[in-house]
Amino acid sequence: MQITIRGVTKQFGNFAALRGIDLNIASGELLALLGPSGSGKTTLLRAIAGLEPIDGGSIRFGDTDATRLSVQERRVGFVFQHYALFRHMTVLDNISFGLRMRPRAQRPAAAEIRRRSLELLNLVQLNGLEGRYPNQLSGGQRQRVALARALAIEPRVLLLDEPFGALDAKVRKDLRRWLRQLHRDTGYTTVFVTHDQEEALELADRIVVMNRGSIEQVGSTDQVYDAPRSPFVFDFLGSPNVLPGEVRDDGVYLLGAAAPFEAPNGLAPGPVDVYARPSDFRVVEDDPAAIAGRVLEAQRTGTLVRLTVLLAANGQSVEIEIPHPDPEMRVWLPSDRIRLRPAHFSLYRESRPAPARIVEDRSAAHSAPGSRVRGQ
């Protein structure tokens, strides 16, 4: 079922939870709503379900105007973070609840309801547990019962509100993989809310990054990760290092670098923020566009080395992560001198109120190898 959201607004008192959301959800896709708490992601999900009345805009399910439908009529499968299972009912009664609540004319016969519920129980791999009560199940099992219960009504769309938020890391990982598989097998249009970027990247086809009631960026996981459209998105999808830089006629100079990187077209000269993830840096020997620093801390974790580097130009510390595939490889020690160069970065202008920065060290410019630069 294709879902079309247009100009949806929602206000809680003085707080604007949704400020004009436009979003198309394709039939059969697995979409993540990603954002920090208070970004409006859960409100949007609840608005789609009809659990939260909206103040303005429209939500359409295919050709149907869903805003005119009650929660009961929308036929959405909703999975809550804390499962919301009916404690006084067995697993089977929980799963069959939606079918049993149908108006008499549309309700299948009791035997058929039982058959379908057992089939769903099988789908969520909980065969044999139909007679248990929710408090006799583990968290992961409960969430799977909740999912089966939501699927029983053959929903137009499956909505999951931080479905793995209450589970421990190991179970969460297993359930993620399993949900991905389930989505592939059943093909339900699925929207889930998460504040965990890793979960969004691992599970979703597309990611909607939300911030303060608005959508910051919509795109495939690759698009959102590789070309974050705003500093916020970049920040949310990783822990970036923000380096001061300057765009000049011949390219972009990192603070203290002797040579520029190639700047994207159309960027006017002036100061710029250079965003780079720890894994975007390379250690180089002699590269005029690189920046110099001293190792402050070095820690190897498996195949990675994490370094904290103090930049010579402005005393800023930078976190970098470099692969360490080879035990013979050189080990970095604190106070070692090092030269870094970001292999990938994004440039943003006036992304935030500029903190006090040290004045740039202008040294002579050299030509530099071009670098892949994304976005602006």
Binding site: R75, A84, G98, I153
Partner: protein, 266 residues
């Protein structure tokens, strides 16, 4: 289990001193009558009427409180409105008020010449000096038991359960009957049992409004008092023992029902 024998020993001693020994004395005293004498006292029409009124009235009052007490608790938990704290405090008043004061107040208002009694009398409804008045007083003193036991449970009942039921297509009515009611039923039963027990044992607030007409609006506790004043100790203890046995049986049944429900999940 460490401390088991100590705590159990203490509990048993404590219960014995406070409850068991006095009540055993009561039963012993009435046993002096012998079974036939006991039966003779109880089968008197006046005694039977009093027992019927006490237990029937308490049951009716508890049932009324089950419905309206639930509504009060619901509105306290689910809605915010001006004066809520004031109303909250008022619910507790029957706990704190000397029961005689409550009885006199109720009588003053519902007597045929009272504020509410007069217009009701015009409609042909008599509350004071009538079994209905007994139920009224018992309802009054039982209300806080239902409200106060239900409130925390309603507070805890997740709103998400209702939302889940709604997304699954359940109408509001079916959500109430299939989801909310089963969730609060144990607490409701407890509250009703407490209200009922209080109603059976109530004396002060009832006797003023009841009018105490033998065979009509005379409650069992009052009959016990009357027997005592007549120095008919055996008769008094016989009625008291009957009350004790009936109350205990009913409360035990409710407790067993609760335990049975608890075993089935929830």
């Amino acid at each position: 289990m460490p401390g088991f024998s100590l705590t159990l020993g203490f509990s048993l001693t404590y219960l014995s001193l406070l409850v068991l020994i006095p009540l055993a004395g009561l039963l012993l005293r009435s046993a002096g009558l012998g079974l036939t004498g006991f039966w003779h006292v109880l089968s008197a029409p006046r005694v039977l009427a009093a027992l019927r009124l006490s237990f029937g009235g308490a049951l009716a009052a508890a049932a009324i409180n089950a419905v309206f007490g639930s509504l009060v608790a619901w509105s306290f938990v689910r809605y915010r409105f001006p004066g809520k704290q004031l109303l909250q405090a008022m619910v507790d008043l029957p706990f704190a008020l000397p029961t005689a004061v409550a009885g006199i107040a109720l009588t003053a208002i519902y007597a045929p010449n009272g504020w509410l009694g007069a217009p009701l009398a015009k409609l042909g409804i008599q509350l004071a000096y009538h079994p209905a008045g007994v139920v009224l007083a018992m309802t009054f003193i039982g209300l806080p038991f239902v409200v106060r036991t239900l409130e925390p449970v309603l507070e805890e009942a997740e709103k998400q359960l209702e939302e889940a039921a709604a997304t699954l297509g359940a109408t509001r009515w079916r959500t109430v009957t299939r989801i909310i009611l089963p969730a609060i039923l144990p607490a409701l039963l407890t509250g009703v049992a407490l209200a009922f027990a209080r109603g059976v044992g109530e004396y002060g607030s009832v006797i003023f409004i009841a009018g105490n007409i033998p065979n009509v609006s005379e409650i069992a506790p009052l009959l016990i008092m009357i027997r005592l004043e007549e120095f008919d100790y055996a008769g008094a203890t016989a009625v008291a023992s009957a009350m004790l046995i009936i109350s205990f049986t009913l409360l035990l049944a409710i407790n067993l029902l609760q335990a049975w429900r608890r075993r089935r999940g929830t």
